[in-house]
Structures are given as C-alpha cells and as structure tokens.
C-alpha cells in the first residue's frame, strides 16, 4: 500500500502484519484539502485488525489548521474504536494543539428532545398566547394607572422627554402623512369615479372620498404610518435601554418604568394622533379632488361643497376618536415590546418587528370593534 503525491507533499502509510499502522507525512501542508487523500486517510481507522496508529511527521515543513483538522478527525475516529494513536513524532506545535483539542471538556448539558404530539404543541401554543395576552392586559392596566397618576398626583416624568416625543411624532411626521393620505385620497377618487361614472353620478366621488377618509381611512392610514415610524422607534429605543441595563437601573432606583418611559411617549401620541388624523383627512380630500377636477371636470367649488355636505360632526369625531385610540395602541405596543425585550442585539430587532406587527394588528382589531360598536348603537 503506497501512495505517491507531488514531490513536495507526501503521505505514505504502511500496515504491518501485527496491526501496526504507520502514517508518515512529508513536505508542506498549507491549505491542505486534497479530498481523495483525505477520504483515504479517514477510512484508515476502520481497517480490520488495526491495533495501533503511529503518526510520523519529521518531514513536515509548513502546516496550518487544515492539516490539523485531518489529524484531529483521524485521532477522534481512532479514539472511538479505542485504537491508541502515537503522536510523538509530529512537530511539537501539532502535538500540543491536538492534545488541547482532544482533552475532554465540559460539554453543554444535553437536553432531552421532547416528542410532542400535534395536540400538545397546539395546546401549549394556545396557553402561551393566552399568557401573553394576560401580560399585555396587565401592562395596559399599569399604563392607564400611570396616566391616572399623571392627572391626580405626581409622576416621575421628565417634561423634556415629553417635549421630545411630541416633536418627534408631531410636525416631523407631517410630510409622510401628507403624501400618503393624498395618494390614498387619489386612489379612492379614481376607483370610485370609474363606478360612479357608469351612472352619471360622478359628483358623488366627492362625498365618497370625504366620508371614507374622515370616518376611518384617515385614521387608519395615519395609524399604520405612525406604527412603522414611531412605534418601531419606541421599541428600538427602549429595547436598547434594556440591553444596556438602563431599564434595570430604573427599576432598582424605584422609578416606575411605565411612568418614566411609556408615559411621555403615550401622552405625546394621544395628543398628536387626533391632530395628524385631521391633517390626513384634509390631504385625502385634496387627493380626491384632483381626480374630481382634472378627470371628471368638476369645479373646485362644487367638489368642496359636496365634500362638506357629505360630512357631519359625528363622522368627524368618530375619525378623531379612532386616531386617539390608535395613538394609545401604538405607544403601548412599542413600549411593551421594548420593555420586555431580551438582553442582546438580536432581541432588539425582534422587538421592533413585533411592535410594528402588533400595532397594525391591534389597529385593525380596534377599527373593527369601534365600527361594530357604532353600528350596534346606531352612531
């Protein structure tokens, strides 16, 4: 049994009658990953009747970890079969590293793979969801208690935090809300006009856009924009504070986390969301009017009059109320996922995603609830 390689690199092995395997290495073994040779060597410990392996490396000149990997594999395989491996003739560096790698270390405790039926997993999942819902409800409770304290007694809130939040979700959010609401109004107007034109009722595009925007869509669009913009930033900021132990520091100072972190943000959103909603309504109507004026040849005055006539205070107030509720939802979701964020960078990313997803889901759920409520009570 003999194998020849390029002159500079040589691996020879010989198996004696008594089961003694000698493998000798010669030359440079840099970036060494010759696969055929490798497979060959790795099969060696499986040779029948093998008693002992002797590794000879006097001829090794340069080597790196790739050689080490092969030797390590070999030694481990031999170890499994209880075949002793003699490494004394290898270069000292290789010997030491091999010894280090082969020393039995503490391994992470083995966890039992639990085999669970579909039903168990499903049940567990449901229970988890229920627990999460309870936790969320408790958090909401604390938040509203905090707001109660804000109006009745003193809370630990820095006015500057409130002003900063107000600025961030106030005028800085105007441009994006304006653009998106304008577009949504435009789309409504366009889609509506195609149908209404069939009946020669194109003037009602004005009422359609006005009612849709003012009653619910203005608020929903603003809510979704703010969930992505502000809710995400709340979760990321507070999540990072959690990672930096700042939240722990607050807690151990005896400062209620909801007072200090959630309250300024929630108050700011509760204040600005209704205003942003009104702003969004206006831009939506403007978007619709572009369709009305340029596509349907309505006069601006006519369009405006129809819009105003279609609206009433009730619709307007319902829209604003939606905005207010969404403000609470976004602040609660953002802060909740921030405060219950894990302790590493990865968790901050997850917290941010969860905050946005949860905000949007709860915005839709709240819209449904308010709509049903209005329907039942005939508002």
């Amino acid at each position: 049994m003999k194998m020849e390689q390029a002159a500079t690199r040589q691996i020879r092995y010989s198996l004696s009658e008594s089961g003694l395997l000698e493998i000798s290495f010669q030359g440079d073994f840099l970036h060494y990953e010759h696969l055929e040779e490798l497979e060959e060597i790795q099969k060696l410990p499986e040779t029948p009747l093998l008693k002992k392996i002797i590794l000879k490396g006097e001829g090794i000149q340069k080597w790196d970890s790739t050689l080490l990997v092969i030797l390590y594999d070999l030694a481990q395989k031999a170890g499994e079969k209880k075949i002793p491996v003699k490494t004394d003739n290898l270069p000292e560096g290789i010997q030491n590293l091999l010894n280090l790698a082969l020393t039995v270390k503490r391994r992470p405790p083995e966890t039992e793979e639990k085999k669970e039926s579909f039903l168990t997993r499903w049940g567990e999942e449901t229970l988890n969801k229920y627990a999460a819902l309870k936790k969320g409800a408790a958090f909401t409770g604390t938040a509203f208690k905090s707001i109660g304290r804000f109006f009745t007694s003193s809370v630990v809130m820095r006015p500057v935090d409130f002003l900063f939040a107000l600025q961030d979700c106030g005028y800085k959010a105007l441009p994006i809300v304006a653009v998106i609401s304008f577009m949504v109004g435009l789309i409504f107007g366009f889609v509506g006009s195609m149908q209404l034109k069939l009946f020669g009722a194109q003037i009602y595009v004005a009422s359609l856009v006005a009612i849709a925007m003012v009653r619910v869509m203005g608020a929903v669009m603003t809510g979704i924009i703010m969930a992505g913009r502000t809710g995400a930033s709340y979760a990321a900021t507070i999540g990072t504070m959690q990672v930096n132990e700042e939240v722990d520091a607050l807690k151990t100072m005896g400062i209620p986390v909801t007072d200090f972190l959630l309250l300024p943000r929630m108050l700011a959103l509760m204040l600005t969301m209704p205003l942003l909603t009104v702003f969004s309504d206006l831009f939506g109507i403007m978007g619709g009017s572009v369709v009305g004026i340029f596509l349907l040849d309505l006069s601006p005055v006519e369009y405006w009059n129809y819009s105003i006539n279609a609206l009433n205070l009730k619709n307007f107030l319902i829209g604003v109320f939606h905005g207010f509720v969404f403000g609470c939802v976004i602040a609660l979701c953002g802060c909740y996922y921030g405060i219950y964020c894990g302790k590493d960078a990865d968790s901050v990313g997850k917290a941010t995603t969860n905050a946005v997803v949860a905000s949007i889901v709860w915005i839709i759920i709240c819209t449904a609830i308010i709509t049903v409520f209005c329907e039942v009570f005939g508002i």
Partner: protein
C-alpha cells in the same frame, strides 16, 4: 502561596467583630423557570464590610445580585435587608429599601438620553426634596468624587468605558446609599483604571461607612478589597466556601476554591491525563 503579590489587606474581617447584618440570605433557591441555578444558599453580609461574590462564569453571580437588588424574585428562601424580609414586603417597603441601594452595572447603565449631570440628578430629584441649586451642588460633588469634574454636560456616548463606569458609580452614590452593589467593576478596564476603581471602593467603604457587595473574578481585586466572600460552585450549585478571601487562600476548604484563588486549571489537569 500568595499568587499575585498583592498588598496585605490589613483591615480586620468585620465578620469577626460584632456588627449587625446588612444582608441576610437564608435557604435561597434560585431558578429560571424549571432550571434550578442554585439552592440552599445562605450567607450574611455584615454592615460596613466589602463582600465579594465569586465563582466561575455561569455560576449565577449576576443572578444572585439581581435577587439582592430586587430585580428578580427567588424561587424559595428569604432575603433580609436591614432585617426586613424584602420579597415578602409590600411594594412601598420594597421601594424604600431599593432607594437605599446604589448599584453599579457592568456597562455603567447610564441613561443615554441624559447628560452625566442629569443622570446623577435623577435619583436626587426622585427621592429627596433638595432645591435645584442644592441638587446641582451635590451632582458637582459626586462627579468630583469619581474624578469626573467638569464632565457634567457630556452625554454617555461622548465618554470612554472607564469614565462611564465612574459616572455610573457617581450616580450609584447620589443618595448616600447604605449598600452599594457592583457587578464586575473591573471588567473591561485597563489595570490602572481598575486599580483606581478598587481604591475608590475602599475609600467609599471607609469614609462613608458603606456596605459593599462586589461580583468579580479579578483575583487582584478580590484580595485587595475583600473582607469577606462567598464562592459559588457551578457544579454543586451552591455556596461551597465563605470567609475572608485571604484566609480561603491559606486554607482552601476545597480543591475548586484553591484552583480558583491560585489561578490553576484544576479541570484541565484532571482531564488531560
């Protein structure tokens, strides 16, 4: 056997004198859900001593600190702080006890949206009825104590890691706490800064009479500042040694402690045979 050639710690272990307990832990079991981290942990921290919690990585030192500082409830057992059963008290009593703690977190945990001065002023505004002028003066003093005079208007992102730690200490000291907890104060500091922090800890302990609890693996620190200690064994999951670190070095109660304090690799010696 004196491994690192530290200066002899001349102060008497206070545990041998008659001083009341600042902290008393009895039969503590610590768990994350089903995973029991340690059990039957009992020890006392006397007033005005520097108490070291040592143990290998993952033995639960930081978790124990969380329980002592009121961040995590124990699964079983009692924690008496100043004689009051912390975890069975109502939130008002807990808050009162927590307001007498100062804590220096591993990263400093300064509030990044506030300047150093605002950071230090926060607990003062929260718990004292000083006027703004008095608060400003106190903040100035605390910053000077930790050698950061003139840095009051800097934000945490504008100073170095070691400075953050000192600023964190200034905040921990803001209310003249009875007990100050440190989580790995010297981690990430150069030898000189870490030595200066040790000196600062001793100064605070001696001049303000503060009880100090330190989690650390830094042998230098352990021998320089510690007057009493416990050793957490991550395999037996309990406290396996207790006493002045220097005494433990002279008469180690078990091999693990000897390896830890003499910085020898017990585990590997055994296995490489």
């Amino acid at each position: 056997m004196n491994t690192a050639g530290q200066k002899e710690n001349k102060r008497q272990p206070l545990s041998e004198q008659k001083t009341p307990d600042a902290i008393q832990v009895k039969g503590l079991t610590v768990a994350y859900d089903d995973f029991i981290l340690m059990k039957d942990v009992s020890f006392e921290v006397k007033e005005k001593e520097i108490f070291i919690i040592m143990g290998a990585s993952g033995s639960g030192k930081s978790t124990l600190l969380k329980i002592l500082t009121g961040l995590k409830a124990p699964a079983k057992g009692t924690v008496l702080i100043g004689g009051i059963d912390f975890w069975r008290s109502n939130s008002k009593v807990q808050k009162n006890i927590m307001s007498k703690n100062g804590i220096l977190y591993q990263s400093g945990a300064l509030f990044s949206s506030m300047t150093l001065a605002e950071n230090i002023a926060l607990p003062l505004q929260q718990y004292s009825d000083f006027s703004q002028k008095e608060i400003d003066e106190l903040v100035h003093l605390k910053l000077a104590l930790v050698g950061l005079e003139g840095f009051g208007d800097f934000y945490p992102s504008e100073i170095s890691g070691g400075m953050k730690k000192r600023a964190g200490l200034a905040r921990a000291l803001a209310l003249d706490p009875k007990i100050v907890y440190f989580d790995e104060p010297s981690a990430g500091l150069d030898p000189i800064s870490s030595r200066l922090l040790d000196d600062l800890i001793i100064q605070i302990n001696q001049n303000l009479g503060t009880t100090i609890v330190v989690v650390t693996h830094e042998l230098e620190s352990i021998f320089t500042i510690g007057t009493n200690s416990i050793f957490l064994d991550e395999e037996l999951r309990t406290v396996t040694a207790q006493g002045n670190p220097r005494d433990l070095l002279r008469n180690p109660p078990n091999e693990k402690v000897r390896h830890f304090l003499t910085r020898t690799a017990g585990e590997n010696e055994k296995n490489s045979k």
